[in-house]
Each structure stands twice: as structure tokens, then as C-alpha cells.
Amino acid sequence: MDERTKQLISFLKNYDGKELRLMEVCGTHTAQIAKNGIPSLLSDKIRLISGPGCPVCVTVSGYIDRLIELAKQPDIVVVTFGDMLRVPGSRVSLAGAKAEGAKVRMVYSPMEILKLAEENREKKFVFAAVGFETTTPVYALLVKQAQQKGLHNIRLLTSLKTMPPVIEWLCRTKKTQIDGFLAPGHVCTVTGTELFEQLARKYEIPFVAAGFEGVQLLSAIAALVKMQGKGELKNFYPSAVGREPNIEAQNKVDEIFDICDAAWRGMGVIPNSGRKLSDKYRQFDAGSEFLMEDEKKNKACACAQILTGEKRPEECPLFGKVCTPDSPQGACMVSMEGSCFHSFESQK
């Protein structure tokens, strides 16, 4: 370890000022913070909180239930990222429904659906289109290419979300009291930092755009500690993130998706925090509107309070007892980007 990294760790370990609650809102940050053991390198006065940065964790049960309904229809195959498979719906998960005969396929990229649809024209393929600003451009490309290829058997069930409105919700709510944000790293590569800069100024909370390596994360946390109380944004990930958005990606998204209200697990409906297919592309929609139901599989599940930083994963009565990665009761324990999953893994 080089001298400067040692100094950085010593600064963070010996910090003895005001108690700080710092939130990250990017699933990969959550995973990397856990993997690098960063909480153990910080003073007791610095608490890291995983916010609603994992797209799977913020998906409501009504959406999962609708996917299952679709997958049970004779001519429909639901196609999804692997993380979605075990998220509990109100009764069962997609994996559970698959065991009961529903048709569900897992892919690594939404673009794989093009080949499936081309080779099986008698079937309809519905993609479980969840994600933030990072993934929405990929869906825009998919819709464009499906249209160019004349594939009429592709649909999206959308639960697409945008980060600035939910971060503003967190800044406003008295319950969370966040002293600084690690801006969502991958989201920022598409949106740029300007929108987060505006939030920093408006709510006088510091933001740092951070990379994903251990030292990058430690530096960003140290910067937030030094910036406390200041309504500023620092970009500590300039190789991938600029102030301006990725215009080409943004234009594609704006052409195909309109802004809409969206339901977030545990937070309810937040105005203008989602994206849906625009009227011009509505023929690609699998019935995504009004999927706002947010029913818990287990009433005692505290995912909602964990996502907003009101509770730590260990404070949930189910944590580590009936709720484990093998038998998740809530989405935060399912996803490899979920905070309960990582708390459980690090306590093993």
C-alpha cells in the first residue's frame, strides 16, 4: 500500500468530528464498498448507508406479479436479467413461477432478445425492462433495432427510473438526514453531473462522483468528509463522467421514452421519476402502466426503511433469520447489489 493510501485510511479512521451519514446510490458502489471492506476502515463517526441505487431492489411487487401473469400465457416468454429472478412478488418470484411452468429466460444483455424474437416469430418475447439512466439507453437501442428489423413480437414491461427525483426525495424527507452523497457512478456516465450539482446547491449537501476501485471510493468518502455542510459537487471520476450528459444516448432515450411518475419500493409514487414508452412506440409496451402495487411477501420486512437509510439491515427482525440470500423475503436480500445481501455476506 502506498504512503498516500495509508494517509487516506488514517484520516478516515481517526476522524472525530460531527457524526456523518453518507449515502451511496449505485448498486455497484454498494457491492464494491462491501468487497473492499471499506466500513471497517472508517471511524465510528462515519456511517455509510446504501440508498435506492439497485434497480432490482426498488421494483414493486405489482410489477413482478404482472411479469408472472405474462410468463404464464401460452405464447409469451419473459426475458430478464438474472437479478430479477428471485425478487419476491406478492405470492411468488419469477424463479418460483418458472418452477410452476411459467416461461422465463435469463440473458446478460437486452439485445439478446432480438435474436430470440427473430428465430421464434410465433412467440412473443417480453423483456423485464428495469433500470436507471444507465440501462434505459440500451432499451432505446433495442426498440429502435426491433423496429428496423420489423420484429413485431418484442415487448417491454417497463419499470424504468430516474435518479435525480429520488435523490431529491431523500434530500427533502426529514427521516433520512443524509450529510453527503456518493453520486450514482454509472448513472452519471450517461446523465453527467450537472443535475446532481443543482441538488447539491439547493439542499446544501455535498456530492462526489466516484469510481469503483477501493482507493477511488476511499478518496470520495474522504472528500465528502472534508466537504461537509457545503452544497457542492466534486467529480472524482473524470475519466468516465463529465458535467454534460452523453447527448447521443440522451437523444435516443428522449425519442423513445417519455417521463412519467414511478412507484419505488418503500417510497411510494414519486412524480416524474420514471420513463415509459412514448405514444409513438406504445406498440412495444406490454401493459406497464398502473403497476404501482407494493405488497410485502412478509409484513415484517423492513426493505423500505433500509432503502431510505432509516434502518440498518441488521435492525430488520427478519435479517439473517428467515431472510437470507437462500431464502430472501425482500429485494434487498436478493440482489448482489442489495444492502441486506452484503450485510449478510460480510457477517458470515
Partner: protein
């Protein structure tokens, strides 16, 4: 699913590109940002999201400098 990986563009063919991830070559979509052979890029869900501007080592240097300049409490 929020994961993005850095790789290097080997070849560009219209809206597709061949990207090497530490030697593993994968065909990805290149329609979201202009790319050329040799670019270091960030790939998410089978698509290039962004071209990376500088090396990690340079970036880290810069970052340490900035951190030192920030007023300590």
C-alpha cells in the same frame, strides 16, 4: 445489473464493436456514443456507454492532488 466494465475497442463495424476485456473478446453494441479502434470504453448490458478519457493511474494522481488541496477540517 448495474455493473459496467472497462474494455478496449479492437474493431468497429457500423453499430457494433469488438471489445477486449483483459483478452476476452466480446461483440457489443456501439450505437450510444461515437467510438473508434483503440478507445478505452465502459460497457454495460452489452452496449458501450461511454469512452474513457484518461488512464486510471493518471486519474488517481489527479484525485490525490485535489484531495490534498481540499481544506482539512
Amino acid at each position: 445489473m448495474c455493473v459496467a466494465l472497462p474494455g478496449k475497442v479492437i474493431e468497429v463495424n457500423k453499430e457494433k464493436a469488438l471489445v477486449s476485456f483483459e483478452g476476452n473478446q466480446v461483440e457489443v453494441q456501439a450505437g450510444l456514443v461515437p467510438v473508434k479502434e483503440g478507445d478505452r470504453v465502459l460497457v454495460h448490458a452489452g452496449c458501450i456507454l461511454q469512452v474513457l478519457k484518461e488512464s486510471e493511474a493518471e486519474e488517481l494522481e489527479q484525485l490525490f492532488r485535489e484531495l490534498e488541496e481540499m481544506q482539512a477540517l
